[in-house]
């Protein structure tokens, strides 16, 4: 069993929909939780970063961490075609980014 599980999708939604992306993990020691966005044929870029449990909001994006359930989510409100990308979750034991464990990614398409 993988340490980080992510539904690969693909996920297709109409423009304006609320999108929910999720990851589960098995290592309860993870403290730092990240979401990356990766456009086709590009490198990943950091979208959201959360320490421990709780919510974090940035514009149309909200990251949630539930450490008791070992479950993290990324919500995208008012989704746009420009949100079409692969979203990778990642988590680590400490601030050392190189020690992150990545999910496989969920591919999202937002249709106009």
């Amino acid at each position: 069993q993988k340490e980080v599980e992510q539904d690969p999708g693909p996920l297709s939604v109409p423009e304006g929909a609320i999108v929910s992306l999720n990851c589960t993990y098995s290592n309860s020691a993870f403290q730092y939780f990240m979401w990356y966005r990766q456009y086709s044929r590009k490198g990943p870029e950091l979208l959201m970063y959360t320490y421990s449990s709780g919510n974090k909001e940035d514009g149309r994006f909200t990251a949630q961490v539930d450490k008791s359930s070992k479950y993290i989510s990324l919500f995208i409100r008012d989704s746009q075609p420009s949100d079409s990308a692969t979203y990778l979750c990642a988590m680590s034991l400490d601030t050392n980014a190189g020690k992150s464990t990545f999910g496989d990614g969920t591919t999202l398409t937002v249709k106009p």
Partner: protein, 114 residues
């Protein structure tokens, strides 16, 4: 892509051939990383460097070596390429002590080993 270039961007090679991929950064970040990305496996760390001539192995280092003689350059070498090393390779950089120690990724190199 935050001042990170990778070369070549695409390469086709034959089994048994040595291959070197280059990562160059203009951000003067201390840490550099090499990942591979494969369907069903996500991003996996191959090697990383915490400074010039300071490198260490990651999760999937077998068959790969690295060198870092200058802050700005991090080379990944496949000593004798195999078909299982067909992948997309990403370089990343980060600076310790900065908020979140954000990793910035390069544009990737697509390698096909025939």
């Amino acid at each position: 892509d935050a001042g990170i270039t990778q070369s070549p961007r695409h390469k086709v090679t034959e089994t048994g051939t040595p291959v070197t991929l280059r990562c160059h950064q203009t951000e003067n970040h201390r840490y550099m990383y090499w990942y591979r990305q494969d369907p069903g496996h996500g991003l996996r760390l191959i090697h990383y460097s915490y400074g010039v001539k300071d490198t260490d192995k990651g999760e999937v280092s077998d068959g790969y070596s690295v060198s870092r003689s200058k802050t700005e350059d991090f080379l990944l070498t496949l000593e004798s390429a195999t078909s299982s090393q067909t992948s997309v390779y990403f370089c990343a950089i980060s600076e310790p002590g900065t908020p979140q120690e954000t990793q910035y990724f390069g544009p990737g190199t697509r390698l096909l080993v025939l």
